[in-house]
């Protein structure tokens, strides 16, 4: 094996084993930051030894043995050798003697993994820190990979992670799955982090790269892992369903020039049927588990309506409108209401949609949101109120930050003007 081939192979093992390794160590050390450091030590040892010795038969157990040994050595050597540390060292030794390496294979490590997810997504941390820590500890991404994915400088990510680990350590955040009333809120933080990673990949918030599908794959992987760890939580399956179905359209969402292609204009034959099938299965799972769907489940159900329609004309807009109404009920937001307006317009005509969209113009939250005038412009144009439609498209064009979208909106404004005033000289050419 060449050194670089060996390096790539070790990277692959790391991707598979690191989360379980860190989780197991964190249970013993009761500190996520320390756990990660010793896991890294074990990785360094693997990089030194495996290119010569080859990858061991059970690389996960090998890494765990090394990491534990390093942990004991280091804790013993530490100058601030408080009694507490000595005690910890002894405990660790017992742990090795008892050889809970076997635990790597059984359920115990799954519990540790779940604890690790909850700690990484702890509400003490900022959203950015939760995202970075989750990708690093659970996703097995390097700091450099995270920096590249989020278009930030590597030292910033490194600092963010160091600070997050310190915050957790200083606050003595217990390494546990929250219980009782706390569980629902904490789980929703976990789901939010995973979906943030997904949406960051799906519609990049900055830069030219409209989509970074690798982040979508990372988020999907995390979601699928979580669905196995807490199989009875309907919203987890709802989130996985939503991500699988949205990911099924990745190939068709941009044209060769990187310009977005809207859902109804996408080439449906190229939607990924494997992901759609998986998404529909997860949605069915969420529906079986809960009496009613939560916000992610409802969004997944909406996405499923599109996925099931072989042509845009077959879309069940009535059902989509009903699902948006349920979503507005569960998680009220002006953006959801605007989407409901679009669905109602498709189901019951532009006037019915406009009746829902119009009151939204009074909401300060949407004052600078380009999609509101864009939707209203579309509905007004369909009602042949071209003058008003043109004004709305122009407003939307002024608000959007996306140059391509602005061009499209101004095009529609010009089109409305041309219909309304067909004989003005500039349109004769």
């Amino acid at each position: 094996m060449t050194p670089s081939a060996a390096h790539n192979a070790i990277d692959a093992v790391w991707r598979i084993e690191s989360a379980r390794l860190i989780a197991g160590l964190a249970r013993m050390l009761r500190d996520v930051g320390l756990a990660e450091e010793f896991a890294q030590d074990a990785l360094v040892a693997a990089l030194e030894q495996w290119p010569q010795s080859g990858i061991p038969r059970n690389p996960g157990a090998w890494l765990m043995t090394i990491a534990k040994r390093r942990a004991i050595d280091s804790l013993r050597r530490t100058e601030r050798l408080a009694r507490k540390h000595e005690q910890l060292g002894r405990e660790l030794e017992t742990a090795i003697a008892d050889s809970d390496l076997a635990a790597l294979a059984d359920g115990a490590i799954e519990d540790d993994l779940l604890r690790l997810i909850f700690v990484a997504c702890h509400p003490l941390l900022s959203r950015e820190a939760r995202v970075a820590l989750t990708l690093r500890l659970l996703g097995g991404l390097t700091t450099a990979e995270i920096a590249r994915a989020f278009l930030v400088a590597e030292p910033n990510v490194a600092q963010r992670i160091v600070r997050a680990k310190r915050t957790l350590s200083e606050a003595h955040v217990p390494f546990e799955v929250p219980g009782g009333d706390e569980l629902a809120a904490r789980l929703s933080s976990v789901l939010e982090v995973i979906y943030l990673i997904f949406t960051e990949g799906y519609a990049a918030t900055a830069g030219d790269d409209w989509m970074r599908p690798e982040l979508c794959e990372d988020a999907l992987r995390l979601g699928r892992i979580l669905a196995e760890l807490v199989p009875d939580e309907p919203e987890v399956h709802g989130l996985v369903a939503l991500m699988e179905i949205q990911a099924s359209r990745i190939r068709t969402r941009v044209d060769a020039n990187g310009h977005p292609i809207l859902l109804l204009d996408q080439h449906r034959a190229r939607w990924d049927q494997l992901l759609i099938r998986r998404g529909l299965a997860s949605l069915a799972r969420a529906e079986e588990l809960g009496t009613s769907l939560g916000p992610y489940g409802l969004q997944a159900a909406i996405a499923a309506c599109h996925a099931r329609a072989r042509t845009p004309g077959e879309t069940d807009w009535q059902r989509i409108a009903a699902l948006y109404a349920a979503l507005a009920d569960r998680a009220p937001s002006p953006v959801v209401e605007l989407n409901r307006a679009v669905a109602v317009a498709m189901a019951a005509g532009p006037a019915a949609g406009l009746a829902i969209a119009d009151p939204l113009t009074r909401l300060p939250a949407l004052a600078n949101y380009h999609r509101l005038p864009s939707v209203r412009g579309d509905l007004l144009a369909k009602l042949q109120r071209f003058d008003e439609a043109r004004a709305e498209f122009e407003r939307a064009a002024a608000l959007t930050r996306n140059a391509w979208e602005r061009k499209l909106l101004l095009g529609r404004a010009a089109h409305c003007a041309a219909i309304e005033h067909p004989f003005e000289p500039e349109h004769l050419s």
Partner: protein, 149 residues
Amino acid sequence: MRFMLLVKATQKSEAGILPEPSAFEAMRTFNESMVKAGVMLDADGLASSSKGARVSFAGGKPTVTDGPFTETTELVAGYWIISVKSKEEAIEWASRAPFDDDAVVEVRKFFEADDFPADAFAPGVHEQLFGPEWEAREKAMHEESQRRA
């Protein structure tokens, strides 16, 4: 990126001999480990080639040969589809499959948008793949078969 791990047939699988219960159990554990790791997208197994057939196109004309076929390592007995970060990760998963000594697993990558020239998915490509040209070829093939019948 997405890989297919193709499990090649063995003399046993071709003879229709089912694995021992312990081997089944090991396979179940292995499958579960890939599901738990969030990488497994799909998997299935295929019956022996005696239940299938081969359609070859020597001279551009489909010729059917019924199974079974002899070259077992050229036959596929099952597959996994996994979503991983690298070829090495796909290989690492394949290496963990609980097989004995005559098994072969082929690791193959799916095409991705990046594997095509930049303009492959330009507007209009659908027409190239599924549009008039394709329809014309379909029509020609249809006419040809009518003429022969």
